[in-house]
């Protein structure tokens, strides 16, 4: 049986309070809640990797993945494939199609629709960083985040957690939301216009999909409504006849709307709490509407994602200053430090060292067992030459041996924390500690590794690993 076999969501830990925007811009108003904000070291690619790592925690499942689709409206690069970074970071087999579906917000729901019936295990990652002009609704209501799903045949290691019962799509060319390439923010038509277009389309798509699944709107256990058009999304459940208590919350008050990734994050949130044998319809509005209808299986309770969406939503750090947010998004051009700019990564060494750089694959000595980061041909303990095997440390936690806070390092958000990490089971590496404050860098603190865009120099992004404070999942060994 094929279906959904794994899922996970990633929500960055930074929060911007809407009241902070209003206060900074000298506007009154009752803006409530917070939005999630990608860190200055995160982008759609790195967040997609974080979500996909959680979805592919099982090595056996990684080895089965045959296709990778990355959907985002904010690609880190054009022309080159961003999904190959996922492919490299996850250490997937070479003979795997990795491709992007980028540009439109709808590419997220579209990628899910394409992957859902797949007989080849297919990883779909949805990721977005939503930016609006200062003071606008997109800035206020947007959010950043990612989600990853694997559709395909189940097995004992990764059984089907939700069957795909049916899907339907309505496509419509409508000038409702658009953005010229390179522009900082979307433009939207008058909201009431598209409400009239979208609501009937959404109801029609939902009815068609439910019909195909042999269900009725009234009998549905969970309806998830996603899409950047807020008025339409709020109006659809009633128009479709789905009882209000069956409609999943949109988390907008806490993390905002993550655009391309929003349907994924909301679906993951429902899967975190749905019981076995329940039906879930995911309805995504935009340029028409698309619907995916699932039924959870008995395997779901034992195979939910390791960190639930609710925990990621709750794990927000102290609120960001608005000026910091603007700086991170490149909307405030700040005076750089009087220091040499960081070097970009160079292409040949990056390619030669892809296993280490992207997947954190270290070496272990086959003579004495000593672990070495970065990998080396000569063992640091017994000096054996070329006696190594590969060992991935991406999922291995560690302890801070010593640390420092650097007030001078080139960073859009100083200070920078550096830690020397002693990994459980051996090996040591000095790296940056992110999503942290000084207490997290104390000697003895527990950390885990996270994939980040460590910087961009001369138009080249550098993707590499940092440490971050350990989640509960990384208890002392």
């Amino acid at each position: 049986m094929a279906g959904l076999i794994s899922y996970a969501a990633y929500v960055p830990c930074h929060r911007l309070a809407r009241s902070e925007i209003a206060a900074a811009l000298g506007e009154g108003g009752g803006s409530r809640g917070t939005r999630a904000v990608a860190g200055d070291d995160e982008d759609t690619t790195s967040m997609a990797v974080e979500a996909a790592r959680s979805a592919l925690a099982s090595r056996a499942l990684r080895d089965r993945v045959g296709r990778v689709l990355l959907a985002t409206a904010a690609p880190a690069y054009l022309d080159t494939t961003n999904a190959t970074v996922l492919h490299a970071a996850l250490g997937l087999r070479p003979h795997v199609l990795a491709m992007d579906a980028v540009g439109s917000v709808r590419s997220g729901a579209g990628a899910l629709a394409l992957a859902a019936p797949s007989e080849v295990p297919t990883l779909v990652a949805l990721s977005d960083v939503r930016v609006g002009l200062p003071g606008g609704a997109d800035e206020r209501d947007g959010g950043d985040g990612a989600a990853a799903f694997v559709f395909g045949p189940g097995d004992d290691d990764a059984p089907v957690v939700a069957e795909v019962l049916a899907q339907d799509t309505v496509s419509d060319e409508v000038l409702e939301r658009w953005r010229l390439p390179g522009a900082p923010a979307s433009r939207v038509w008058e909201e009431r216009f598209a409400e009239e277009v979208y609501v009937p389309q959404a109801v029609a798509a939902l009815e068609a999909a439910l019909c195909g699944a042999g269900l009725t709107a009234g009998g549905l256990d969970h309806l998830v409504v996603a899409g950047l058009h807020g008025r339409a999304a709020r109006a659809v459940p009633r128009a479709a006849g789905v009882p209000a208590e069956r409609v999943a919350g949109d988390l907008g008050d806490r993390i905002g709307n993550a655009g391309t990734a929003q349907p994924g994050i909301l679906l993951a949130d429902v899967l975190d709490r749905a019981a076995s044998g329940e039906t879930v319809a995911l309805l995504t509005i935009g340029d028409g509407a698309s619907v995916l209808v699932l039924r959870t299986t008995d395997a779901l309770p034992a195979h939910r994602q390791p960190v639930p969406v609710s925990a990621r939503v709750a794990a927000g750090r102290p609120p960001l200053r608005y000026a910091t947010y603007l700086t991170w998004r490149g909307l405030l051009d700040r005076e750089p430090p009087r220091r040499p700019e960081p070097e970009p990564p160079y292409a040949p060494p990056s390619h030669r060292r892809a296993g280490w750089k992207y997947a954190l694959v270290a070496s272990a000595c086959t003579k004495c067992g000593a672990r070495q980061l970065p990998p080396g041909r000569v063992c640091l303990a017994c000096h054996a030459v070329d006696a190594t095997r590969e060992e991935s440390l991406a999922q291995v936690a560690g302890t801070v041996a010593t640390s420092t806070v650097d007030h001078l390092a080139f960073s859009p958000s100083p200070p920078t924390y550096f830690v020397v990490v002693d990994f459980d089971g051996g090996g040591r590496f000095r790296c940056e500690l992110t999503d942290a404050d000084e207490a997290d860098a104390a000697i003895g603190a527990r950390v885990e590794m996270t994939f980040r865009r460590t910087g961009t120099a001369r138009g080249v992004h550098n993707y590499f690993w940092k440490a971050r404070p350990a989640t509960a999942a990384a208890a002392p060994s």
Partner: protein, 402 residues
């Protein structure tokens, strides 16, 4: 296989050192002319009579032409070399070996660096194209050396506030010494309270815990020991030269605890063996050590054998390493107050040994330990950082066969 040293086989017979500082009006070439001219003058010779040259610079020139072009040297052998912040000492070491081998009668070691033309505060990078995946070049030098402080506090149970006072006292002492040195970059004493309250730079380090970023040059003339008195009646005999490059495993092995530089321990042991030193704290008259940041000097006092493990912070507070202490350390102000033009620093350290052992240091900073019959001076020069570094230790003396 074996390391034998060249104890008492060569001698330094002339030295020159420019003032260190922000030399906006002087070029690398100017600094080289000044240091080399002063060195040959003090040896009573001329540049044309020097047979071979070793030029140490991290990033202020490439190839032997960086020196020969400036001095218009007539087809002489000139080697340009680099070994991070130990570059100047490395130039001296190679010049000494060349003379000891018999290949040349007169050799010159010269070190130079111009840091201030870059417009940056801190060091200029010399990175090889990489993949951005090894943690190198991310943090700053102060952040790297700041890793020592919490580790030391943790291992020896020293309260953080107390350790901050200890580090401040190191900076205070070096500023006191630098204030008595007309060539130093910083010539003012700084009260401990001001050092402690300075803006943070990295970890426990404030602005005053960091060495000065400066321009400068220093040079030495080296001849065979038996020829030394033809140039000066007070030569410095080279007793030991020791350089090690570590396996760079401290950032990769969990058994390194960031309270020591194993490379310094190894290079010091080798130098003491070459010179026959058995109790450095009582035998050495003074030491110039690589105080790039205050925690470095703290740890070096133990690594060089001047203090017992875990005791240096107490010795520092007791004034053991002050100008009038039992073992004066950095009587010229050190990297802290004299400044740190990378390639020049190793030879600048030797310049202070040259002045002190010859009794030429100004009276206000003259060390008293010589009066006890001690005749040895040490220079210690380090490049890299905790976990991976190169370390150089030399011992020189005013007496042959002593």
């Amino acid at each position: 296989m074996g390391s034998h040293g060249i104890r008492d086989r060569v001698a330094i017979v002339g030295m020159g050192c420019t003032p260190f500082g922000e030399h906006w009006s002087r070029s690398v070439d100017d600094l080289l002319v000044e240091s080399t001219t002063a060195a040959v003058e003090s040896a009573g010779t001329v540049l044309d009579d020097v047979d071979a040259f070793w030029l140490g610079t991290q990033a202020s020139g490439v190839s032997g032409l960086a020196l020969s072009r400036v001095l218009r040297l007539p087809n002489k052998p000139v080697t340009r070399l680099e070994n991070m912040c130990a570059t100047g000492s490395e130039a001296l070491r190679n010049a000494c070996y060349a003379v000891a081998s018999g290949a040349y009668d007169v050799a010159m070691a010269v070190g130079v660096e111009k840091l201030k033309d870059s417009g940056y505060s801190g060091l200029a990078g010399t990175q090889v194209p990489g993949a951005g995946d090894d943690g190198r070049g991310e943090g700053t030098a102060p952040a790297n050396f700041a890793l020592l402080a919490p580790a030391y506090a943790q291992r020896y149970g020293v309260d953080r506030d107390e350790l901050k006072q200890v580090l401040a006292r190191i900076a205070w002492k070096n500023h006191v010494n630098g204030a008595r040195n007309p060539r130093a970059q910083f010539r003012k004493e700084v009260p401990i309270e001001r050092i402690v309250a300075a803006p943070p730079v990295a970890g426990m380090l404030g602005v005053f815990d960091c060495s000065g970023v400066s321009d400068g040059s220093a040079a030495a003339v080296v001849v065979r020991a038996e020829d030394a008195h033809r140039y000066t009646d007070r030569p410095l005999y080279v007793k030991a030269l020791s350089l090690v490059a570590g396996p760079a495993s401290g950032l990769a092995r969990q058994d390194y605890d960031f309270t020591t530089f194993p490379e310094v321990v190894a290079s010091a042991a080798e130098a003491y063996k070459q010179a026959g030193v058995t109790d450095p704290r009582s035998q050495v008259a003074m030491a110039e050590v690589h105080d790039c940041f205050t925690p470095t000097e703290l740890v070096l006092m133990e690594d060089l054998g001047f203090s017992e493990r875990g005791q240096a912070w107490k010795d520092i507070q007791a004034g053991v390493f002050d100008l009038d202490g039992a073992l004066p350390v950095n009587p010229d102000g050190g990297l802290k107050a004299f400044g740190h033009p990378i390639g020049a620093s190793g030879l600048r350290m030797m310049y202070e040994a040259w002045l002190q052992l010859r009794g030429e240091a100004p009276p206000e900073r003259r060390i008293s330990s010589l009066a006890e019959g001690r005749s040895l001076a040490m220079t210690h020069n380090l490049g890299g950082g905790p976990g991976e570094c190169v370390s150089f230790v030399s011992l020189v003396g005013s007496e042959p066969h002593a």
